[in-house]
Subunit: 292 residues, 2 copies
């Protein structure tokens, strides 16, 4: 696993480098807006989605440089969603990525605008990426735009489901939109840029969908089993806000069994891809073994 | 002017048609999110930016059909900015486009998410527009993405300037970002799609910049001189929230004189464009004569 840890460290470095290049300098006006954006982007983030983008590039024979801006754009979209989800009128959270949330450190209007600006910058980053031909940029924009819309729909569904009895099917629907769509899109970036044949595109889409589910199920478990300090955000939050989660509906043991099953299926899909899928496999393992 | 009124009516119809095609049907889940989006989009909006897009298409010999999705996308970006600007932590407004604001009619979290979804859908609408070659779509995305970022920066600057003494230069800086950038981009759409020569591109950029300023200066005056009913939003708001405006810094008379001067300059720039600029000229007049 040392090789994989090195990959994670390298991929964090590459995405942070791209983010630095894409953001206005900290001396740009309005200072407070860009300070808030940097505060939220450069906390103790796992950079999970960018790692998935680079792992996908590896599997489809694409140089990392070509997907660097897209990895940064996806991290921007993810970060904007965290900032907005943490707002008082939504999940009302004080802690994120090991530090006070954006609206606590700054204020509510700055947090809303920081999220808004991040979303605009994300699409601009992909549109401006001269490393890729225009039709490829368009395919990425269509895919990530669609994921960003689904993410918002999922958050709305999640808020509406609070305190209500819902089926496991509905929970899956929420998560397929809220977190699954952007994770799936991240997994597909290498295939889009590398021009993967249909059969491999379909395989990576299946893989992305399954690890999206895995990610959410393990997230739900961690909320119960780990401390706030470990998670870098408030633990036990799902229960206190009566969130619809896998463990709350089917129980902890059944959730663990489902995780094993979907993990096996995810690994199986990789056999349909001819390239180097070792790191994608590591990522699937990393999701189920993680503590934060 | 009957011809111009017909043009405004036609352009409203074209943009509403495109919006209908781009939005998820009202039966899609989550119902409340899409209801909120429709509520905000289909109020008594002037559809000023779409009109500018179609007028620009006319000037550069581009069929309206080719810019219809872009006009809708720009109206989506504008509408998302209204929804977020009206939130309690920002301008805290109850009335917009002649009806209760989104967070009053629905709730705060739904309003934030409606704005977020509109921004994502706007970029998707341009990326998905099969009527245009991919390189043209990319140029539009770069231009409108940049304008969307500037708009957010301008709103932050505007909030920070509340209750503070600022120079006329700073006010212009705020408005060039907050409202000017998207208006300028709207004016340039036809030139980008029509592949205008550099000299005409530069002329329409100048025109767009000037009418952006005109629009804001008249907006500031209307806030003082017109009723809430006429405006469809709360009048007298700038004064009560100690907003930095042209009349508050240079006075009403000086603002009117500046409007005349910039209007003349805007008309002058049109002489550098060889196409049919009659409607662009009408739009400049419409801005300074409007009552809402």
């Amino acid at each position: 696993m040392i090789e994989f840890e090195q990959f994670l460290a390298d991929s964090s470095k590459l995405v942070d480098q791209a983010l630095e290049q894409l953001l206005p300098s900290p001396e740009c006006e309005p200072l407070r807006l860009y300070a808030a954006i940097r505060w939220s982007l450069f906390g103790r983030g796992k950079r999970f989605r960018p790692a998935l983008v680079f792992a996908s590039a590896k599997a489809f024979g694409v140089e990392f440089e070509k997907v660097q801006a897209t990895a940064a754009a996806i991290e921007m979209v993810h970060t904007y969603s965290l900032i907005h989800d943490d707002l008082p009128s939504m999940d009302d959270d004080d802690m994120r990525r090991g530090r006070p949330t954006c609206h606590i450190k700054f204020d509510e209007s700055t947090a809303i605008l920081a999220g808004d600006a991040l979303q605009a910058m994300a699409f601009s980053a992909i549109a401006n990426n001269d490393n890729l031909p225009e039709p490829v940029r368009i395919r990425l924009l269509v895919m990530i735009g669609d994921a960003a819309s689904k993410m918002v729909a999922g958050q709305q569904m999640d808020l509406e489901a609070e305190g209500r009895d819902i089926s496991i099917g509905s929970i899956e629907g929420i998560h397929r939109n809220k977190t699954g769509a952007l994770i799936k899109a991240s997994a597909c970036v290498g295939a889009v840029v590398g021009g993967a044949p249909d059969v491999e595109m379909s395989a990576i889409m299946d893989f992305g969908e399954k690890i999206g589910l895995l990610f959410q199920m393990t997230d739900d478990l961690l909320d119960i089993t780990e401390s706030s300090e470990m998670l870098g955000k408030t633990a036990g939050k799902d229960l206190s806000s009566a969130k619809a989660t896998y463990p709350s509906v089917i129980g902890i043991d059944a959730t663990r069994k489902k995780i094993e099953k979907i993990h096996a299926e995810a690994i199986e899909t990789l056999s349909r891809i001819s390239g180097e899928t070792g790191i994608l496999k590591n990522i699937a393992e990393y999701i189920i073994d993680r503590r934060s």
